[in-house]
């Protein structure tokens, strides 16, 4: 049987290597198309900016120069480098994310598992969820101190997607797995820890990915209203106020790239974890 298995294995690796070549070529084509689209987008922007010739729509190369400069020169308002602004924004997102995660996951597990907890929590959740996090800014500013005022806005943005996905993940668990666990001696007390939580991890990761994307949107809005510790959102609004639109756009691009990297990273981890857990 072992011999047979190793032969099958060999055959499989042969086919896999064949597919890999094809897969790599496909990947190259996909990447090429994406890059081409970005180039076309930038060219179109440049053309339009030249036609308009307005200060509030700078040409791409001006924005690019401003972007590079922002990393090597302090800004005139808070005397910070772009790197420091990025760090400030990231710290706020991290705080918001950690608090959202610590609260949303256990609550989501309980709401998914227990009808009573769901009935108790759902009306409140569904009432607060439609309120845009930005609407909380005035409240957050007076209620919390730096950096928790902005972190609170981020928290609101991340909390609900993680909560909803956790609840959904619990409800989606195949009941036969729960039954199997019961016949193996799992009691009410360790069901959450031993079965529900691991089963829910892939869906939970989806919630985190969505939440992180929303987190970046919230941070900019929150920082625009006024913060003392810098931040990319602060940078954008400060530059807009003094009419330095190339710097403003540079800040916007920084947010875009950071969001892209965060969500891309989360999505990569999501896939890796699912595969590693044998749940694809």
């Amino acid at each position: 049987m072992n011999k047979k298995a190793s032969k099958a294995q060999k055959n499989r690796t042969f086919f896999l290597s064949f597919f890999k070549v094809k897969k790599n070529r496909d990947r190259l084509i996909h990447l090429g198309i994406s890059i081409l689209a970005v180039i076309i987008f930038i060219l179109a922007w440049d053309l339009y900016a030249q036609l308009q010739n307005k200060p509030y729509l700078p040409r791409p190369h001006m924005v690019f120069d401003a972007l590079i400069a922002s990393f090597f020169n302090r800004d005139p308002f808070s005397q910070r480098y772009m790197g420091e602004h990025i760090l400030a924004s990231m710290v706020r997102i991290l705080y918001g994310f950690i608090i959202a995660f610590i609260l949303a996951v256990p609550l989501g597990l309980l709401m998914g598992w227990s009808k009573h907890v769901h009935n108790a929590g759902n009306p409140i959740v569904e009432l607060i969820r439609p309120i845009p996090p930005i609407a909380w800014i005035p409240f957050a500013i007076v209620f919390f101190d730096e950096p928790f005022d902005t972190a609170f806005i981020v928290f609101l943005g991340i909390f609900f997607p993680v909560l909803i996905n956790t609840i959904f993940g619990v409800k989606r668990i195949d009941p036969i797995i729960i039954d199997a666990a019961k016949t193996l001696g799992v009691t009410k007390r360790n069901m959450l820890q031993k079965v529900i939580f691991p089963a829910v991890i892939p869906t939970l990761m989806t919630g985190i990915r969505i939440g992180l994307g929303i987190g970046w949107m919230c941070i900019v809005a929150a920082e625009m209203v006024g913060v003392t510790g810098g931040g990319v959102g602060f940078y954008i609004s400060a530059m807009a106020d003094v009419g330095r639109y190339d710097d403003m756009f540079a800040g916007m691009i920084v947010i875009g790239i950071l969001g892209f990297i965060t969500v891309g990273g989360a999505s990569y981890i999501e896939r890796r974890v699912s595969r590693w857990m044998g749940m694809r």
């Binding site: 036969i176 797995i177 199997a180 193996l184």
Partner: protein, 265 residues
């Protein structure tokens, strides 16, 4: 209570009540299962076989009647009644060995010891080399080996098997049946097996219990005294198959007739 009765089912009735209808699945079923016995419940599809096993497992509560295990009333699921599911019901995030260790882990057994026991059962079900594979990397037959090992690792008094080979191809099913008999003989477990295949019931069991169409109750009990390994092509096998098939087909016909009546009304 009988000295060697492991499970005693008395006047078991199960009615599923939902908002708009109530389904009577089992009606006044009485059955005694002896220690070490390989008993098969055979019945047409939808007659209530799974429900009987789930009741013994404690996953369902009887509407009426009582189930005893070693003289004690069954009042919920527990590790002394292991179950093997047609859908395998493995934990997809756990590797083969961690699936098998699961029950021991729940008991709080130290890691070294449960590893050792799990390895023993991996050996027993011929899964050497797949310890660290995840269920989604396994074929159906191998998944069910994990299911069997996982249930056995808890050292239950009885193994409840609900059409465990129902979704496997014919060849694999035959192999699994043969190996299951080997496992049964090595472990001296009591096995309650559910199937709608007459052939499977005859090949495996000491005793075949033919169930009526829904609501299930016992139609006939037949002891199979053929020596193992049994020859599926043998004359006596064929005779018994003929006899049991007659009993089962009567019930299938009834079931179809009652379905038709329901559709007409």
């Amino acid at each position: 209570m009988d000295g060697n009765a492991l499970i005693k089912i008395e006047h078991l009735t199960k009615i599923f009540d939902s908002d708009d209808k109530s389904v009577s699945a089992i009606s006044n079923l009485n059955l005694t299962i002896e220690e070490g016995e390989f008993i098969t419940l055979l019945g047409p599809s939808g007659c209530g076989k799974t429900t009987i096993l789930r009741l013994i497992a404690g996953l369902e509560i009887p509407s009426e009647g009582i189930i005893y295990e070693r003289g004690e009333k069954v009042e919920g699921p527990g590790p002394n009644r292991g179950m093997v599911f047609q859908e395998f019901a493995l934990f997809p995030w756990r590797t083969v060995i961690k699936n098998i260790e699961f029950g021991l882990e729940i008991q709080g057994m130290p890691k070294e010891k449960r590893r050792e026991i799990a390895m023993h059962y991996i050996d027993l079900v011929n899964l050497e080399g797949f310890e660290n594979a995840h269920p989604n990397e396994l074929s159906g037959g191998m998944k069910q080996r994990v299911g069997i090992a996982r249930a056995l690792a808890n050292e239950p008094d009885v193994l409840l098997m609900d059409e465990p080979f129902g979704s496997l191809d014919a060849q694999t099913r035959n192999i699994m049946q043969r190996e299951l008999l080997g496992i049964w003989q090595k472990t001296n477990k009591t096995i309650v097996f559910v199937t709608h295949s007459v052939d499977e019931a005859l090949y495996l069991s000491d005793r075949v219990v033919v169930l009526t169409s829904r609501p299930a109750t016992i139609k006939k009990e037949i002891s199979i005294d053929l020596l193992r390994p049994r020859d599926r092509a043998g004359k006596e096998f064929a005779k018994l198959r003929h006899e049991i098939l007659g009993e089962v087909e009567e019930e299938v016909t009834k079931a179809i007739a009652s379905e038709r009546k329901k559709e007409e009304s």
